[in-house]
């Protein structure tokens, strides 16, 4: 197919590079520098989709971010992405796109039947129509709506592309590279400020690319190019195209999405597809320009009806005619600029101007060019289904209420200009309370709330000279405050044509006997009649009207529809527009891909992975790893085809009979130093700490102020004023913050320093009856006998030339030691332990065996210290000092905490000694009691006792102290299990604790 709507020698596209692409399966050609939209229009394609509600044919309405219609499903390099605006997607070789929202095809769409049933689909149709009968909802309505009304289809494949995040700081962030953006960036940059200039489109310059102006004896476009190339060379300036600043957040932080590779057939190696910038700016200059707004008339959604500024952009930037027989419908001079461009390129347009007799240079120029202009004329309705074929036009009375005789004229497109709406989204997001500007019929930013200033058309300033002047000055003034420099730019000479005032006309009345749909919101199919119904039904707040009718709620967020909607509401309500107010603007200004928001934090990068220094040894020895917070820990070391159950049982059994070694590097470690260290411990832990001798360890429990157990662990006195605290893996960070809180805020008089040393030490727990013999061989120079190193003792030793700390502590109930060496020596220590331990039949054991060993000895851990239990619940009440105060002590007097039947930890054994008990199951008295069956407690941890060779669990049970010996039932509705059990002591192994002291 030929590009029959492409002009020769006009536009900024690269005609030397022809690109082929596919739309709905058909091959077309365009040029480098095209958008998908411009390339399709060049090929005469105007039907791109179907509307959301009525499935009416949809074409192109705009030429950029404001586009409400032309949304496509994009295929690129084996991936697919939904809801891409054809007006934003740059063309690349091999691009493929399809229409969305039509089924089975864009030319024959079953949903279009809605168009003929539209009487049934007025405002609030979701709320009303599908209410009755109720039974129809799931079977009929919902599937129908889902099939017929969806937008694009999200890919279910893993996205191979890379998205990155970047944090940046600058003096001035400038959003938009039109005249105000360029001028303010240039003057601020020349004054030494660090500037980021962001442009949403691929080309810099904004309206300067399409307007007939002269700045400093250059055309607007040439001036823009010279400024940009100079800015690009400046070291204090970052210039970014294809970058949309979409969100304005607290404290002048803005977020920008940079589309790095979307315009390429394939992302380059090691390049991201998109990058999200978090920019903290001292000052923000909003130079986002304005968006032309439509005039509302009958069938104004027909393909071929589009904004006049878009028609001009297609012509001047892309060399593309949106029609060869154009009708321009305008209430201001902008429509004339478009008409003049058509005329200059040999196309004869007709202008319908709602004004009676406007006088300006632009109007004169159009007259002089011989353009057919009809004053006081309007388009009553567009005619044609899939494309405009003609227009019904009529003269309109001065009061704009009466239409003259309706005539029909041939045309193939209708270019509409209803004046300009400032893009105030970012200003509004910043918290700026906007104000209504009477002379332009639109809202502009009011008083700044953050450090933001809005310039140019975004601020309702529509003349170039004034815009440039303000922008140069603002750029200079703001940069001067930051850099204290005072380099001023000389103001260039500006030549532009003066405009006449616009006509505040926005909606064409219906001719007698006609009921044309007049659309306000083109993406969500909200028509004038829908707003009228909503107001008739009593909706008043604009926020409610918006939600009831879905006006402005589509992916374009009402960029072209909001203001006309407000005009209508204010007209019906007989209020002024500012009294109606606009709905809240929220980020993102324009849709952002989920990938960009997530960035690199996907899959295994969603959190850091921490590995112990012995990790590679574990890997080489068939460890199966498990996540423990951010750590990876061996769960068990697989031998042959062993299951987790078999492997962990073997490892635990070996600890009970010979000796095992476990990597305990992940335990939290805090180094505590200072003359008041003992006093700190005495206040933080529930038991007494003032008399712990040097070279001794003690077990301690710490509470929160509300009396709930926070953590437990051992702390060792290394020397007079030096302690080594251990915490659980999970609570390590919280405990450090907790200590810092009390030292810095509550008891600053205590002379103590705390620092995390978790990563500085590698730890190995050596446990089992043969552990002392092994230890003696590891430390031949030290006396590790029961007398020299008793239970809870500590000493330093020499591990084949490596300095080591030896703690006699036990988590398994066996005779056990923990050896710590500096992390770099961790692997050396581990290999030595394994090598020397061979003769004692040593085996490494993982977290599963570790759990088994602690459960069967009744040692409480994370699943009991779960943020809901107090010391008594965990049978730790013996550690509560009566002689001193400590954090949380006062809370333990609470009535519920001292109740006679308070919950307590117990052991649970199934009566058949075979059935495993699922963790989280409930304990009940009577398994057949009617629901809700009163719950006595819950299973906190389960294991297979290697000592007794039967299942054993810990549970927290109401009145636990009186439950020992009772027969209850464990119920797990999840696993559908009912297990008769007996309650026993939680100390299932060595209840007197003789082994640890042996």
């Amino acid at each position: 197919m030929t590009q029959s709507f492409r002009l020769e020698n006009v536009g900024l596209i690269n005609r030397n590079k022809k690109l082929s692409f596919k739309f709905n399966g058909k091959v077309y050609y365009g040029y480098e520098g095209d958008t998908l939209a411009s390339a399709l229009i060049a090929n005469g394609v105007h039907l791109v989709g179907r509307s959301f509600k009525y499935h009416r044919p949809r074409g192109f309405f705009g030429a950029g971010v404001d586009e409400p219609y032309a949304i496509v499903q994009l295929y690129r390099n084996g991936e697919t992405e939904p809801n891409i605006k054809a007006t934003e997607q740059e063309l690349f070789e091999g691009l493929e796109a399809t229409s969305v929202n039509c089924w089975p095809s864009v030319n024959f769409d079953i949903g279009a039947i809605n168009n003929f049933l539209k009487i049934f689909l007025p405002a609030g149709f979701y709320y009303k129509t599908f209410m009755w009968p109720k039974s129809f909802w799931f079977k009929v309505y919902e599937p129908f709506i889902r099939k017929a009304a969806g937008l694009g289809v999200a890919s279910i494949k893993h996205d191979k592309e890379r998205y990155e995040h970047k944090y940046e700081y600058c003096d001035l962030l400038i959003t938009g590279s039109g005249p105000s953006g360029l001028a303010s960036a240039y003057s601020a940059a020349k004054n030494g400020a660090r500037v980021i200039l962001a442009e949403d489109k691929s080309r810099f310059g904004g309206t300067l690319l399409t307007s007939e102006v002269n700045i400093g004896n250059q055309s607007g476009k040439e001036w823009a190019e010279s400024i940009i190339s100079e800015l690009k060379e400046m070291p204090n300036v970052t210039v970014k195209n294809r970058s949309q600043v979409f969100g304005y957040y607290d404290h002048n932080m803005l977020v920008m999405s940079e589309r790095i590779s979307d315009h390429l057939p394939k992302t380059k190696k090691f390049h991201p597809k998109q990058r999200l910038w978090y920019i903290r700016a001292k000052e923000v200059l909003i130079s986002s320009g304005s968006i032309e707004r439509p005039i509302v008339f009958g069938n104004n959604d027909t393909p071929g009806v589009m904004l006049s500024s878009a028609a001009k952009e297609y012509l001047k930037v892309y060399g593309v005619l949106v029609g060869k027989n154009p009708l321009i419908f305008t209430n201001n001079d902008s429509g004339y600029e478009t008409a003049i461009e058509f005329q200059k390129n040999g196309i004869n347009p007709i202008i319908l101007d709602t004004r009676k007799d406007p006088k300006s240079e632009i109007v004169d120029e159009a007259k002089n060019l011989g353009i057919n202009i009809k004053f006081s004329y309007v388009v009553v309705a567009a005619q044609g289904y899939k494309k405009v074929k003609s227009a019904d036009i009529a003269k309109i009375s001065e009061d704009k209420d009466q239409l003259g005789t309706v005539e029909n004229i041939k045309c193939d497109c209708i270019c509409v200009s209803g004046f300009w709406t400032p893009t105030i989204h970012l200003a509004s997001q910043s918290g700026n309370k906007t104000k209504f500007k009477e002379d332009i019929d639109a809202f502009v930013p009011g008083k700044s709330k953050q450090n933001e200033t809005t310039l140019g058309a975004a601020n309702g300033t529509y003349t170039l000279e004034e815009t440039l002047k303000n922008s140069f000055e603002t750029g200079h003034k703001l940069s001067k405050e930051i850099t204290k420099k005072d380099n001023k730019i000389s103001f260039p000479n500006v030549i532009e044509k003066k405009s006449a005032v616009h006509d505040k006309f926005w909606c064409v009345p219906l001719p007698k006997g006609k009921n044309y749909k007049r659309f306000l919101d083109f993406q969500n199919d909200v028509a004038v009649s829908d707003i009228e119904i909503a107001l008739k039904e009593g909706y008043r707040s604009i926020e409610h009207v918006k939600r009831y009718t879905t006006l402005g709620m589509a992916t374009d967020q009402g960029k072209t529809s909001n203001l006309n909607g407000l005009q209508l509401v204010s007209k019906i309500e007989n209020k002024v527009v500012p009294a109606v107010g606009h709905t809240t603007f929220r980020p993102p200004y324009s849709p952002v891909s989920i990938g960009a928001i997530v960035g690199r934090e996907v899959g295994k990068h969603s959190k850091p992975t921490r590995k112990s220094p012995m990790h590679s040894w574990h890997e080489k020895n068939n460890a199966v790893f498990v996540d423990a917070g951010v750590w990876l820990r061996p769960r068990y070391y697989k031998q042959g085809n062993e299951s987790l159950f078999e492997g962990s049982k073997r490892e635990a059994k070996n600890v009970r009979t010979n000796v095992g070694v476990c990597d305990v590097t992940t335990l939290g470690k805090i180094d505590i130093k200072g003359p008041d260290a003992a006093e700190l411990l005495n206040r933080v832990y529930t038991n007494a700490w003032l008399k712990l001798p040097v070279g001794k360890a003690r077990y301690g429990v710490m509470l929160r102020e509300d009396g709930i157990v926070m953590d437990d662990g051992t702390t060792t006195r290394i020397s007079e004023n030096h302690y080594h605290m251990t915490t659980t893996t999970a609570q390590a960070a919280n405990v450090l913050s907790h200590l810092e809180y009390y030292l810095q805020l509550v008891w600053p008089e205590l002379n103590v320093n705390v620092v995390s040393t978790t990563e500085q030490w590698a730890g190995a727990a050596i446990a089992g009856p043969k552990s002392r013999e092994l230890l003696q061989k590891l430390f031949p120079k030290s006396d590790v006998s029961n007398e020299a190193l008793p239970f809870m003792g500590y000493m330093e030793g020499d591990l084949f030339g490596v300095k080591a700390r030896i703690f006699r502590i036990s988590f398994s109930g066996e005779l056990a030691f923990e050896v710590n060496v500096e992390s770099d020596n961790g692997n050396f220590m581990w290999e030595k332990i394994m090598e020397v331990g061979q003769e004692f039949k040593i085996q490494p054991y993982g977290t599963e065996a570790l759990s088994t060993l602690r459960i069967e000895m009744g040692h409480v851990a994370g699943s009991e210290l779960d943020g809901r239990t107090i010391p008594y619940d965990n049978s730790l009440e013996g550690l509560l000092s009566k002689k001193k105060d400590f954090i949380g002590k006062r809370s333990l007097n609470r009535e519920a905490f001292t109740a006679e039947d308070r919950q307590k930890v117990v052991g649970v054994v199934p009566l058949d000694k075979k059935t495993s008990i699922p963790e989280g199951s409930h304990l009940v008295k009577d398994s057949n009691a009617p629901l809700p069956n009163p719950k006595l407690g819950y299973i906190s941890a389960s294991c297979w006792s290697v000592e007794h060779d039967n299942p054993f669990s810990l549970a927290i049970v109401k009145d636990g102290k009186n439950m020992i010996g009772k027969k209850l039932f464990v119920m797990s509705p999840l696993k559908n299990k009912v297990i008769p059990v007996e309650i026993v002591s939680s100390h299932y192994v060595d209840p007197k604790g003789e082994r640890v002291r042996s």
Partner: protein, 89 residues
């Protein structure tokens, strides 16, 4: 994302900090007898103000100091930041 001036390190983004609640709550002295009401007020009862509020933040991924921040809970405006040792005036 808030921008908080740590009195020790300077301006830093919110994601380096963790929130620590009302900075005006005073812990009863250790060993001192307190009524249930006083203890409840210390542990649980907070005003949840709309407007200016002195609160604690810890510069967790920075200097690890707890600091006092005067912030408007509705607008997020920050008026003042103090070191832990400095008294709220």
């Amino acid at each position: 994302m808030l921008y908080i001036k740590c009195p020790h390190c300077g301006w830093r983004s919110q994601n380096e900090f963790s929130y620590g609640g009302d900075a005006t709550v005073k812990r009863p002295e250790l060993g001192k007898e307190v009524t249930d009401q006083e203890w409840n007020d210390f542990v649980y009862n907070r005003k949840s103000l709309r407007g200016k509020h002195w609160e604690l933040w810890q510069h967790l991924s920075g200097c690890r100091q707890w600091i006092k921040v005067e912030r408007d809970t509705a607008t997020h405006e920050i008026f003042n930041t103090l070191k832990a040792s400095e008294e709220i005036s």
